[in-house]
Amino acid sequence: MIEVKNIKKSFDGVEILKGISTTFEKGKTSLVIGQSGSGKTVFLKSLLGLFTPEEGSIFFDGKEYEKLSTAEKRHLRTEMGMVFQGSALFDSMTVSENVMFPLRMFTNQSVSEMQDRVDFVLKRVNLVDAHHKFPAETSGGMQKRVAIARAIVMNPKYLFCDEPNSGLDPKTAIVIDNLIQEITDEYNITTVINTHDMNSVMEIGEKIVFLKDGYKAWEGTNKEIFKTNNESVSDFVYSSDLFKKVRQVYLRELEG
């Protein structure tokens, strides 16, 4: 479980996060949504400790991050997996070397054990014939999946994904969403996903946090988001006519 208490973060005097508090539970996929530029990435990076918030605190299963020693922070980080918005694969390494990297760095497994694990996670993300390619030789969607494989290879306790399915076709996007939800459930991971994909919101939003102008404007589940009267959320989520109709149909079904 991750508890966030009133975190604030600014860049060059401009406040991007203006005091955000929420909790992300174990075994659930929590989504952070909001317009482009609303601070989702900054929020996620603050959770990871890549940005240090000026105020507020973050608790990982009860341990306050800022109070940990450097060594403890490093250890905590080995329990985290992160999928960056731009994948952030090591471009001097092949796909399988990328995925193997955390294992080589932090475990004492034999090469064949590591190879088995790599094969397993790559299969898990539906990548079977790209092992020896370099990131530059793969498509954006493949890179995303390699990034996910690398993030889960160590069986993390906390998984963070920054727009894991942006730039993917709808089918692959759903595969990725389901995959993340399955892993979260299977290994009881605390998962936080940034997204502006409404499909993900409907499908896997076990908890949704809506950011607007640096504040948390709404939070709830994907069931509740249909019923909410909060205008800024419905403006954002149901901005397209299609989703407006979907909402009406859904609400009618609920009544009937």
Binding site: L50, R74, F84, A88, F90, M105
Partner: protein, 245 residues
């Protein structure tokens, strides 16, 4: 002010580079890779430049001796002195600041802008140690490069003198041997060793702390070249003052 701040950050960076070592089995591979990229990869250009500049030094010296009272062996003597004292250690280091330095800055800078460094940090890797330490170790072999540069520079001078008809082989070799002070070689290698550390760390600093995108990577490489050269020239002055006077 910004200069002072950068100097402070540079030393803080060095502190992190030497703390929390990366696993040795990983580090070893990285070191071999850096030796290949930084040392072996620079051999060609260093050999080429040394040989021809050594030749030019000999020709220039010969052409500037018009007084018949000046002994012929001076060509060999001057070539040896300039190659060992300045040309190989300092001049080649400036070239390396361009070649190796901009390579280091742009490769680390690219990792910064594509969030690969963040990815390392998130995994719990000490990214400074992982990225910079192997470069420092690899470049500690740099004095060997300079030994070869000295050798080829002198060979270049020797061949240019003979084939250009500026001096006989015997005169040249006599010049090479005359008034030889072994401490000059020590001085040259002390310099080289210090330069190798600068060549590894200053370009890393500019790559690691850069902000922005691809355009800024290019700018960081240029800035890194300028400052690496400036520091090499300044340190050269200080070491010369300390050791030779």
């Amino acid at each position: 002010m910004i200069y002072l701040e950068n100097i402070g950050r540079y030393f803080l960076m060095l502190k992190s580079v030497f703390s929390k070592m990366t696993k040795w089995s990983m580090l070893r591979n990285l070191i071999f890779k850096e030796i290949d990229d930084l040392i072996v990869g620079s051999m060609g250009i260093v050999c080429f430049i040394s040989f021809f500049v050594g030749g030019v030094v000999a020709i220039q010296t010969a052409l500037n001796i018009s007084n018949p009272l000046i002994p012929k062996y001076l060509v060999g003597f001057a070539t040896r002195q300039s190659v060992i004292l300045e040309f190989a250690p300092t001049f080649i280091s400036i070239i390396m600041a361009g070649k190796v330095g901009s390579f280091i800055t742009s490769s680390i800078g690219t990792m910064r802008v594509t969030e690969q460094i963040d990815a390392l940090e998130v995994m719990g890797v000490n990214s400074l140690n992982y990225l910079v330490f192997p470069k420092i170790v690899a470049l500690s072999l740099y004095p060997f490069v300079i030994t070869i540069a000295m050798f080829l520079g002198i060979i270049g001078g020797w061949l240019a003198s003979i084939y250009g008809g500026f001096s006989t082989s015997a005169d040249f070799v006599q010049g090479l041997q005359i008034d030889f002070i072994p401490f000059h070689v020590t001085y040259a290698f002390v310099k080289t060793f210090v330069f190798s550390f600068i060549l590894a760390t200053i370009p890393s600093f500019y790559g690691y702390y850069m902000k922005g995108g691809a355009l800024e990577v290019g700018k960081a490489s240029t800035t890194s070249f300028v400052w690496t050269s400036v520091v090499i020239i300044l340190i050269n002055y200080i070491i010369t003052q300390l050791l030779l006077t």
